[in-house]
Amino acid sequence: MSELILFRHLDIPDINDLDVYLANGGFKGLREIVGKKSPQEVVDIVKASGLRGRGGAGFPTGVKWSFLTPDVFPRYVVINADESEPGAFKDREIMERNPYQLLEGIAICCYAAQAQTAYIYCRGEFWDLAKELDEKIAELKDRGFLGKKLFGEKFDLEIYIHVGAGAYICGEETALLESLEGKLGMPRLRPPFPAAEGLFAKPTVVNNVETLANLPPIITRGADWFRSIGTEKSSGTKIFSLSGHIAKPGNYELPLGTSFRELIYDNGNGIPNGNAIKAILPAGASAPLLPASEEILDTGMDYESVSKAGSQLGSASIIVMDETVDISWVAYKTTKFFNHESCGKCTPCREGTYWMFNVMQHIKNGEGTFDDLATLNSVAESIVGKCLCALGDFSTMALTSGIEYFQEDFNAHLREKV
């Protein structure tokens, strides 16, 4: 097994206790930078590490920070803990089991971004978890790891929890900012990007939980060490959430570039009931499904390789489906999800998700005709690339790839038009 960078609780079970965290090198990273390195030096280390955003887009983290408009203050750091992608449950485990590493990562990010205030936008369903984090933040303040003049240096920092209320779209960073401002969580037109006008119209960094949890070890062990893990363009480890038809579902932290086969068979113990694997959704409901050929199983799970194979790594929410699954039912489920979650701001997505689900319902009820496949593809085509955020594109992916690779599953429900 490779080294655990983020899931240190698997080696040190009570690392969610502050004293245990401190005894195991906790807050060493933050101490190494506050008053000792300039914010720019920290940005440069993170750039050199090659760390890419773990929320789904895979954008280089240090580069994202360097877009902050210079000399405009206050600035904000917002942590995306709105984990809602079907099949994603990794951030929750970090927050539950290794929370101080996240909180230290947030502090490091704030130092680099020269922000004094951070908000953790936590999905409302994680109610108990949000309460626990709140207590841990208060504890850090009492113990001198948050608050005014940190470590006696010129650096003030407050972290607040902000609880969402059930809307998938708020995982999209500009919708998240709208929601945090107390408005309907709908995406903003860009530019301006959050780095110029984000929260409360101030320069803002928005990063995912897993991304920030990587920062303490990057600071203490260096960019070169981090780059030595994973692949050339996708450095570090990644937490793969493995679900669906799998013997041992769960989160697995593995180097980026690990093959689907290793995750599914070595870590997940394969497919139950002696069934054969049929398809994989590598990024939850939000990217094309991949037919499970030998070649696909040997594909490395890094941003480049999965993209080359015809899908996206996204948040690495790997949903496995065995031979008993009817892919038209999968498309019914994903279109139902996106129809429910479309925020309604952009017409192609609002109307398109409705119609794709409507037609899929029709097909599921045995009322579909062969013409419906062309209708579905044409609705999908009129959504992709025509909306403010990526939700519209996402809503079409499992459906159109399902039709492409497994049309026979749809055909079984269809008849000629009379």
Partner: protein, 166 residues
């Protein structure tokens, strides 16, 4: 009035956001109101709107938009079963059907004694522990994971007993 019972908590919530952007406190305040009686009353909407200098219609629109807010009372406990794709692959749709039969209601309905409302919801980020549901009731939201019809029946009975003893 929220301010009569929760003045300190309201002040603490408002402190977290810049004074000029106090509207950001609206969702925490809505949760505070909902915790009181299980839904957000018209009076609470008006009071929150007043606190934040917003129009009550504006506040009300948030309740319609976000799925965790309710403007009408439901059962004392809302049992929300995730039936999204990863959970459905692990039998969540069948599980939901069985729980409905056990409670003698349809999805979206409330039991005759007013205790339980059953809803099917989208992904709860616990796909490796399906079937699962969250329960929204007194105080907050709790997850119940790796559930079976048997463990759910036991849970339902324990809640009824607990409530009878209060």
């Amino acid at each position: 009035m929220l301010q009569d019972n929760h003045a300190t908590e309201i002040a603490q919530i408002l402190e977290r956001y810049p004074q000029a952007s106090k509207r950001a406190a609206v969702m925490p305040l809505l949760f505070l109101a909902q915790r009181e009686v299980g839904f957000i009353s018209r009076d609470a909407i008006n009071e929150i709107a007043g606190l934040l200098d917003l129009d009550p219609t504006d506040v009300g629109s948030l309740i319609g938009y976000y799925t965790l807010f309710y403007d009408k009372p439901g059962g004392k406990y809302r049992i929300q079963i995730c039936t999204d794709l990863p959970c459905a692959l692990r039998g969540a749709e069948k599980f939901s059907h069985e729980v409905c039969e056990m409670l003698n209601i349809q999805v979206g309905e409330t039991t005759e004694d007013g205790f339980f409302t059953l809803e099917e919801v989208m992904c709860l980020a616990a796909c490796d522990r399906a079937p699962l549901f969250q329960v929204q009731g007194k105080g907050g939201i709790q997850y119940h994971e790796n559930m079976t019809l048997e463990s759910t029946t036991a849970f339902i009975e324990s809640i009824r007993e607990q409530d009878a003893n209060e």
